[in-house]
Amino acid sequence: MNPNYLDFEQPIADLQAKIDELRLVSSSNDFNITEEIAKLEEKSASLTEQVFSNLSDWQITQLSRHPLRPYTLDYIKNIFTDFDELHGDRHFADDAAIVGGIARLDDEPVMIIGQQKGRDVREKVRRNFGMPRPEGYRKALRLMEMAERFNLPILTFIDTPGAWPGIDAEERGQSEAIAFNLAVMSRLKTPIISTVIGEGGSGGALAIGVCDRLLMLEYSVYSVISPEGCASILWKSSEKASEAAKAMGMTAGRLQELGFVDRLIDEPLGGSHRNPRLMAANLKLALQETLDELRGLTQEELLEQRYERLMNFGSFE
């Protein structure tokens, strides 16, 4: 099994392995099998298309957590210029599970805040698998308030399994840190665009996700609890995660139908990790257009619409 492919992608992985093998052979031998390789690549593409045209909610959830999926810092590198990372909450520590800083989108300065997962084992641990502690949320708040003072739009990138459920986090007020961000973000006098690039895990995601416009990548998810958590509580078995994922309706597509998502951003064939540059270009365009739209509003309109948006959340009789 190839760890860079998910279980449902294995037929694609097998085909890809065959292609790689043939390439090796063709480079070391004289006979020409280019035609054969081209044929197989075509087959691989159509197989990928076939697999990806009919993904279940659970498969999309798995894709949102794909180990090769681009993370916040990858998008920062591919979309923005002149990024200056800013560190620390000024009270306790610098939480590596949240990165933030100022950069330019084209020529315009913006504030960027996002959760960051690690790529290799050591970095995963250092970034706590993208699960922020209170100091991470307080750093985010500090940067957002700075953005307000200097009139910088705020772009947040959501990618977390959730806020860190640890003793230390509880001691330092995880609940208060999240709650305070929700309250303050509702009134910051600058545009806020949030993009779910991978996993939108509950309150830990929302704490940087109160926004004027919510964008989601095609294979990203956003939910009140992880499907595993939901399954173990309601189905009393974490193996029912795929059922829980479907019941909650947590994929970008479903959430757009339900009215939560302002813009769904297409991913390259096979997911964003198969073509990170194309993905970044798609996201960049979406961010530019959304930002232009928000720049057309007066500050008063912006805040009124944000408050309206928040007050309209809910479904009741």
Partner: protein
């Protein structure tokens, strides 16, 4: 819902709960879930459901909470006509619709939050209380909407808002609709803050998850009843994640007070008087005694 509750209630309390419900028949007597003293119900009720022997604060219903907090007259319910819907047609081992009906039957309430305008020793206030027996006091769209209507009423009248929270967190069956209630309620509270309208959050046993990480922690004053269990993640989740034994008294009111998350812990019997006195100071109103003296003059 019971299994879900077990996640946030530590095993000690749970075991005692079971014995308390099995060995004492419903009726005139009730066993204290903490010290197991057998208590005479009318006496217990007079004591606001606080055990006279060990001072354990038992859980009480939302309606009773408001009943013992507000003055007897001038009460009006807010948002009573807001009722739950099942937009997602959510179904796990049971249908959400059926769970709602069962909870409504058990509690006599339409959902897990009751909101009322009224007076506290004559001072106009808005008070809301969570009904823990309604699906663990979980916050869905109705809870969020009623809370916001209560907050907006407080803002319009410029009178204090008091919330008694008792909740396991967000209501999973409403998925993202319930998550967004965190943002909705927090935004409404921020309006109160910006306009100098006091908000006091009283946390009662237990407060967790999405309720803890939104409206419950945003008080001008954060207050708790003694020994209430309060946190973001439930003790079991934390234990499973960090694979460490949790420290003594972890996530209890006293733990939160010493870690700076609370302003004070108030005994249930002091609640009316102390919150009244605090709110009168914040609202530049004279103390109750002075008012009475003036009336006598």
């Amino acid at each position: 819902m019971s299994n879900w509750l077990e996640k946030i209630v530590p095993s000690l309390v749970r075991v005692q709960r079971k014995t308390s419900t099995s060995s004492v028949p419903e009726g005139l007597w009730k066993k204290c879930p903490k010290c197991e003293a057998v208590l005479y119900r009318p006496e217990l009720e007079k004591n606001l459901d606080v055990c006279p022997k060990c001072d354990h604060h038992m859980r009480i219903s939302a309606r009773r909470r408001l009943d013992v907090f507000l003055d007897a007259e001038n009460r009006a319910e807010i948002g009573a006509n807001v009722e739950p819907s099942d937009r997602l047609k959510f179904k796990d081992s049971k249908r959400y619709k059926d769970r709602l009906v069962a909870a409504q039957k058990e509690t006599g309430e339409k959902d897990a939050l009751i909101a009322m305008s009224g007076t506290l020793d004559g001072m106009p206030v808005v008070a809301v209380a969570f009904e823990f027996n309604f699906m663990g006091g979980s916050m869905g769209s109705v809870v969020g909407e009623r809370f916001v209507r209560a907050a907006q009423h407080a803002l319009k009248e410029r009178i204090p808002l008091i919330c008694f929270a008792a909740s396991g967190g967000a209501r999973m069956q409403e998925a993202l609709f319930s998550l967004m209630q965190m943002a909705k309620t927090s935004a409404a509270l921020e309006k109160l803050k910006q306009n100098g309208v006091p908000y006091i959050s009283v946390m009662t046993d237990p407060v967790f998850g999405g309720v803890s990480a939104s409206l419950a922690m945003l008080g001008d004053l954060n207050v708790a009843e003694p020994n209430a269990l309060i946190g973001f993640a439930g003790p079991r989740v934390i234990e499973q994640t960090v694979r460490e034994k949790l420290p003594e008294g972890f996530q209890r009111s006293e733990f939160l007070l010493s870690h700076g998350a609370l302003d004070m812990i108030l005994h249930r019997k002091q609640m009316r008087e102390r919150l009244g006195s605090i709110l009168r100071k914040l609202s530049h109103l004279p103390e109750i005694k002075e008012v009475q003296e003036e009336a006598e003059e």
